[in-house]
Amino acid sequence: MVYLTRKAEFSASHYYHNPDFSPEENHRVFGKCNNPNGHGHNYTLEVTVKGEVDPRSGFVVDLKQLKEVMHREVLDAMDHRFLNKEVPEFLNRIPTTENIAIAVWQRLVTKLERAQLHRVRVYETPDLFVDFYGEA
């Protein structure tokens, strides 16, 4: 088994708010991330796939295809967007880094042709990142 990781970057804005919470509770739980006008990050996405090396091509996965799928399924939807308002998953789910990693996984998992998705890592900043392995 060989693991291959491809990186990409996207920039987006978001804010954290739960309509079931009171304004005070939202402020207490989410702090400055609760500002309804949003704020932004440069996210780094790392997608790791795994598989056996194809004896004919020497590839685990066709990198061009992986790059195209990441662009089509994730970056086109999230890059330079306000996640809460423009990305369907986040109309009723808070766009935390955890939920972004899960959404990216769900967007990619059925779209890869040969290799199997192993891990989605999303960096919100260089000092904060989330890994999702598809575990329930």
């Binding site: 990693a101 392995y133 575990e135």
Partner: protein, 145 residues
């Protein structure tokens, strides 16, 4: 808010602190210390900018979208780890009265502090970078032979 089914995610956070140490074992002769630790045995010590990377895991809470609130993790690490080790000479601390303050031992100590005291999520591992070129990881467990 709706959630997705409660899914398990891993959250990692990196923190910086600076400290000095000297690698020297009382159980070794001067020559043996020198041979084992080389320039790290300099009696005056030397320092590093350490990066500690803490990974916790748990189900993503449907109400908050979080594994745990970063404010809680940051507060705990600041109080229990950074304030204990930042800008200190590790050899003078009670934690290293009995053991050499290698980055392996420091990594294990930080793991034990977080494992014992942090209750808001499950600790997966602690990774400690001594320089950009070397790092150590501890995820609990005894050594196997």
């Amino acid at each position: 808010m709706h959630g997705v089914r409660r899914m398990k995610a891993h959250l990692s956070r990196r923190y910086l602190f600076s400290a000095s140490h000297r690698l020297h074992s009382e159980t070794m002769s001067e020559e043996e210390n020198q041979a084992t630790y080389g320039k790290c045995n300099n009696p005056y010590g030397h320092g590093h900018n350490y990066v500690v990377e803490v990974t916790v895991s748990g189900p993503v809470d449907e109400n908050t979208g979080m594994v745990c609130n970063l404010t809680d993790l940051d507060g705990f690490i600041e109080r229990e780890v950074l304030s204990r080790f930042d800008h200190e000479n590790l050899n003078t601390l009670q934690e290293f009265a009995q053991e050499v303050p290698t980055t392996e031992n420091l990594c294990i100590q930080i793991y034990e502090i977080v494992h014992r005291g942090f209750r808001k999520a499950h600790l997966e591992r602690v990774r400690l970078e001594e320089t950009m070129m070397n790092s150590f990881e501890y995820a609990g467990g005894e050594a196997s032979h």
